[in-house]
């Protein structure tokens, strides 16, 4: 019986440290393991005993690419516990800075880390030789996202102007207005890039997914919403743990997310798009259509296209919000600590990022539970690998390995986020 092994000891073009083990025997896929060996980071333990208002700043350090996701979800959780309602102006500014994060994170992944897979190139340096305009545009779009985060958050990596209840200081109207011309350019640039990527040769594939994403009656979800699934579940953010769970597996430093019935599910661009396509702008929908995206897209290799449609939408949203910008006054809401439990959830570029804090009457965190997107996607990544390997057995080992790595990068996995926590049990004699 023939045996084939595919081993990737250190995955490239993903954030953090992960590996892949596959064993195929006699045409059967015996083992598929997406292993995360990035060391555990103990953030939930670090939060215990800290003042709840520190949660956004501490958890933003989980990720340098999507700090706003952590800041937003943590802030919402504490605000819920304290019974704080933010003003529409603060809510709009939060959505605006979040648009910046989507733009820079999506463009980095789509154009610089994921596109090489489809072009048969090793990395973005090789793309810059063949298609320099593409890389120039990607760098400019990424800068636009960073500039937006800097204008509102004080800096692009781990913003410092955000806080529970709002912002330390409202950005000047002139600073926001200065971004308008580049945002107008960004809309067209993102659309062009989406259409360029649509010419890639996509492997045939369709996953039987349970999509999970936020939904909102008015907007495509970014910073807020209810949690919905393609299986008709529609729940408030604080019912998350009643329907979803995390489990430990030996091969991964990151917990695996599952539905309570054990099903794997998918979060991120494909899920957001599947559940919220109707809330996209007409122009973004048009780009999606021209890219050949189905109304519910089940080919995970096409997630790169959804990312670029979302970049176009994020530029449009940012332009709308920047034009309507009114400095929030006051820039943040007053806080009165009280004992309770608060939960928050927002759409990180890679999918929903859920925070739950139990807080004592002095405003200190008693317990913290953070469920980032990559933890949730791990079981589905392994299911995708198994399905794609089965349909790709005719490929030689090198091509099959390339295809497998591509499957993982379809998820833009953020391994550093996923390993924020490990349950540690010590037995003492």
């Amino acid at each position: 019986m023939t045996e084939r092994k595919i081993t990737v000891n250190a995955l490239a073009r993903v954030e953090g440290e992960g590996a892949l083990n596959v064993r195929i025997r006699g045409g059967e896929v015996e083992i598929v393991e997406f292993r995360i060996f990035e060391p555990p980071r103990f953030f939930e333990g670090l939060l215990q005993g800290r003042d709840a208002t520190e949660a956004p700043d501490i958890t933003s350090r989980i990720c340098g690419i999507c700090p706003v996701a952590y800041i937003t979800s943590a802030s919402q959780a504490v605000e819920q516990a304290y019974g704080v309602e933010i003003t529409p102006e603060i809510a709009a500014l939060r959505r605006l800075i979040y648009c910046g994060e989507w733009i820079q994170s999506h463009v980095l992944h789509a154009a610089m880390l994921h596109a090489p897979d489809f072009l048969g190139l090793h990395d973005v340096i090789a793309i810059s030789e063949l298609e320099p305009e593409l890389v120039t545009t990607a760098l400019r779009l990424k800068k636009l996202g960073n500039d937006l985060m800097e204008a509102i958050g004080g800096r692009a990596v781990h913003p410092i102007n955000t806080r529970v209840g709002g912002f330390f200081k409202a950005p000047d109207s002139a600073e926001i207005a200065a971004l308008l011309p580049e945002l107008e350019w960004g809309i067209a640039a993102a659309r062009e890039m989406a259409l360029r990527f649509a010419r890639f040769d996509f492997p045939e594939d369709a996953g039987d997914y349970i999509f999970v994403a936020l939904v909102h009656p008015e907007h495509y979800p970014i910073e807020t919403g209810r949690i919905a699934t393609s299986t008709e579940l529609d729940i408030p953010v604080d019912a998350f743990h009643a329907h979803f769970m995390e489990e430990q597996v030996a091969r991964s430093m990151a917990l695996h997310g599952r539905m309570r019935d054990g099903s794997a599910y998918i979060v991120g661009p494909l899920a957001r798009y599947a559940l919220n396509r109707a809330r996209l702008s007409e122009t973004a929908k048009q780009t999606a259509g021209e890219c050949g995206l189905a109304e519910v897209e089940r080919n995970p290799f096409k997630s790169i296209l959804v990312r670029m449609v979302e970049v176009q939408y994020a530029c449009e949203e940012a332009l709308r919000l920047a034009r309507a910008y009114v400095p929030p006054d006051p820039p943040s809401m007053p806080l009165s600590p009280r004992a309770g439990v608060g939960q928050g959830c927002s759409e990180a570029p890679r999918g929903i990022c859920h925070h739950r804090y139990e807080i004592d009457d002095a405003g200190r965190i008693v317990t913290a539970t953070i469920v980032p997107p990559t933890s949730q996607n791990q079981p589905q990544i392994e299911a995708d690998l198994e399905r794609v390997i089965r349909s790709s057995l005719a490929l030689d080992d090198a091509a099959l390995q390339w295809r497998c790595e591509q499957v993982i990068r379809n998820y833009d996995p953020c391994i550093s986020c996923a390993t924020h926590f490990l349950k540690l049990s010590v037995e003492r004699g």
Binding site: E15, L108, L113, S128, V135, K142, A156
Partner: protein, 146 residues
Amino acid sequence: MAEGRLHVGIGNPLRRDDGVGPWVAQRLNQTGLRARIWQADGAGLIDLFDTEAALVLIDATRSGAPPGTLTRFDAMATPLPRPLFHNSTHEFGLAEVVEIARRLGRLPARLEVIGIEGADFTPGKGLSTTVRETARRLVSALREAT
């Protein structure tokens, strides 16, 4: 274009020897040389290339060489070895930025990249002894070169 070459110290001073670039930049600044610290997104460095005619980038390396080993590259003449300048968020390190800029025709007129091999990249402040010694010598050399 600004006057005189700009020294840029790249790294995170909260990860001990990773902060050797910022350490050097800070001391150069104190002696009146043009120097700044870069802790932001690596890809953003390319914007500096557009506005500066001459740049010296100083970064920690982690190649397995003895701690404190100093490597100087004329980036105009030689491609940067990626394994040497690779530590960065999301696979976008100094080598990637310089090599992309080269292909896009966006390198400044003069670009030197200086690496100092670190020993300790664990969380915390302060440089290890051998790394600090090399950094001191580098500060003197850069001052004399100006």
